[in-house]
């Protein structure tokens, strides 16, 4: 049942000429009901006059029937065990919830921010915290083995990198605390910590470093809750050029509609005729109804045409 070696039984469709080999993929997709109406009609027309392709269709069907001979395998014993394990794990895992972080992040400015970060040991040494209370936690949080070598006496030498946890506390305005928070925004793998850090930093979005970190988070953070939080932080700066540029690119690129909804609100809060081109592009590709209508209304208010034609 070779698929190659078709007779050159060509059919003419409009300007393009299709050979039997061009139909091979269509035949497979036809059997799965995955052809568009037009492609299906074209194939059926061809099949009516082509013995070679009818045989190919039979082979494909034979193959698909044979594949169905695989026994159905679902071990209900395994399923029951899986359910039990999951239930136990869920009972000890806290889901990440918006309500939780809203409660946690509303730390009044000026109050002490207490940040416990697992990566501290790797990034900072105690000497760098002049005015800040820093305590070294004793047991390592993570240990990773760097090398394992047997020595001549038969003993094993293992070199281990330990990451320890320390608790650092200080005023949110303390530059050391801010440096830690900025590192957390950029490097921490736990998105919950990134969101919290942004929440604390956002009151300082006027400083160049914080603002750059927020712009980076909006454009590049893989987690949409973090991107949303960073957008909130930039709210007061939605009139400045670099923020507007980032907002426009979020609208064109971000795949989370919630982030785009925030971005369009911020972007259209100020009238800006330079936006016409971007808004027209967004109207064309946007599938979120709110974002689209907001763009159209803004364009209409600017008396610009909605399409790019």
């Amino acid at each position: 049942m070779s698929v190659s070696g078709y007779a050159e039984n060509a059919g003419q469709f409009g300007k393009s000429v299709m050979n039997c080999s061009d139909f091979a993929q269509d035949i497979a997709l036809y059997c799965y009901g995955e052809l568009t109406g037009e492609a299906e009609e074209r194939l059926e027309d061809h099949l009516a006059g082509c013995q070679v392709c009818r045989e190919e269709l039979d082979h494909q069907k034979l193959f698909m029937d044979a594949m169905n001979d695989r026994p159905e395998e679902l071990d209900f014993g395994v399923l029951a065990e899986c359910r039990q394990t999951l239930r136990a794990q869920v009972a000890t895992t806290r889901p990440w919830s918006w309500n939780n972080w809203f409660r946690n992040v509303q730390i009044p400015v000026g109050a002490m921010a207490l940040v416990a970060l697992g990566w501290l040991g790797a990034h900072y040494t105690p000497e760098r915290f002049g005015g800040v209370r820093a305590g070294l936690g004793t047991p390592p949080l993570f240990s990773s083995v760097r090398s394992v070598e047997p020595d001549a006496s038969g003993r094993i030498q293992i070199s281990v990198d330990d990451v320890t946890r320390r608790v650092v506390s200080g005023d949110p305005n303390d530059p050391h605390i801010q440096a830690l928070l900025l590192t957390a925004v950029r490097e921490e793998s736990n998105p919950g910590i990134r969101v919290e850090s942004i929440g604390i930093l956002q009151s300082r979005a006027g400083t160049e470093e914080v603002r750059r970190a927020l712009l980076d988070a909006v454009s590049h953070d893989p987690n949409s809750a973090v991107r949303l939080k960073a957008l909130q932080g930039l709210k007061t700066y939605s009139a400045s050029a670099d923020v507007r540029q980032t907002l426009a690119s979020v609208l064109l690129k971000d795949d989370d509609p919630n982030v785009r909804v925030q971005a369009i609100d911020l972007l259209t809060a100020h009238r800006d005729d330079a936006l016409v081109g971007v808004l027209q592009q967004i109207v064309e590709k946007e599938d979120n109804a709110y974002v689209q209508s907001r763009c159209m209304k803004t364009l209409q208010a600017m008396r610009a045409s909605v399409g790019t034609y």
Partner: protein, 203 residues
């Protein structure tokens, strides 16, 4: 036995799925468990069929549903829950398949004192009843199918599994794998071509 091409997703979708999701999002563990039960047979079956290892299928099950539990608040109803869940499941399965790609696919050919011998050819002895010839044919075929599936790339294997055995539409599969419907079509076609080539002598 299923008729590929016509089966729709074999899922027992609960009547008020959206209600369950919202309740689970608010922390209702009971609702979460009911949501799990609506889908977990299908998740375990896909993982089992893709990975051919109960241990790994178990791991995929735990990893996938824990991820769902931890991220459910991010689910915004802008795709179906099923698509969202399968996106998680297929990505975890793909990770497992890729990680193990270096390891050699299990072969049925074993070395004996009489030279190499195909285990598949001796399988009919285990069949208690029925036409022995037919039994042997089936055992041989299903073994060959497994080996042929083993020759696909992780992505081809996943697309084939989801389309042929789970009956999902290629458009949804493309969405789950972060690619286009067109790419999923090409992938399915490549998979069927490879499978047919390696099963040629049996068909």
């Amino acid at each position: 036995m299923q008729i590929a091409g016509t089966v729709t997703a074999k899922l027992a979708v609960p009547i008020d799925e959206a209600g369950l999701i919202r309740a689970a999002q608010k922390g209702d563990q009971d609702a979460f468990e009911r949501l799990v039960r609506a889908y977990d047979q299908s998740v375990l079956r896909v993982a089992m069929n893709l990975l051919r290892s109960p241990e790994e299928a178990r791991d995929v099950y735990q990893e996938a549903f824990l991820k769902v539990y931890k991220n459910l608040h991010l689910f915004r109803f802008d795709c179906s829950f099923h698509t969202w869940l399968y996106r998680i499941v297929t990505n975890i399965c793909l990770d497992h398949l890729r990680r193990r790609k270096v390891r050699k696919e299990e072969s049925t050919v074993v070395e004996t004192s009489d030279g190499p011998m195909d285990r598949a050819a001796t399988l009919e002895e285990d069949s208690p009843r029925g036409n022995p010839e037919r039994q042997m044919w089936n055992a041989q075929l299903s073994d060959r199918i497994q080996r042929a599936l083993g020759q696909l790339t992780p992505r081809e294997r996943t697309v084939f599994e989801l389309r042929h055995y789970e009956g999902l539409r290629l458009r949804a599969i493309g969405d789950m794998l972060g690619t286009t419907e067109e790419a999923a079509k090409n992938c399915l076609f490549r998979a069927t071509q490879k499978m047919r080539a390696s099963l040629e002598s049996l068909l």
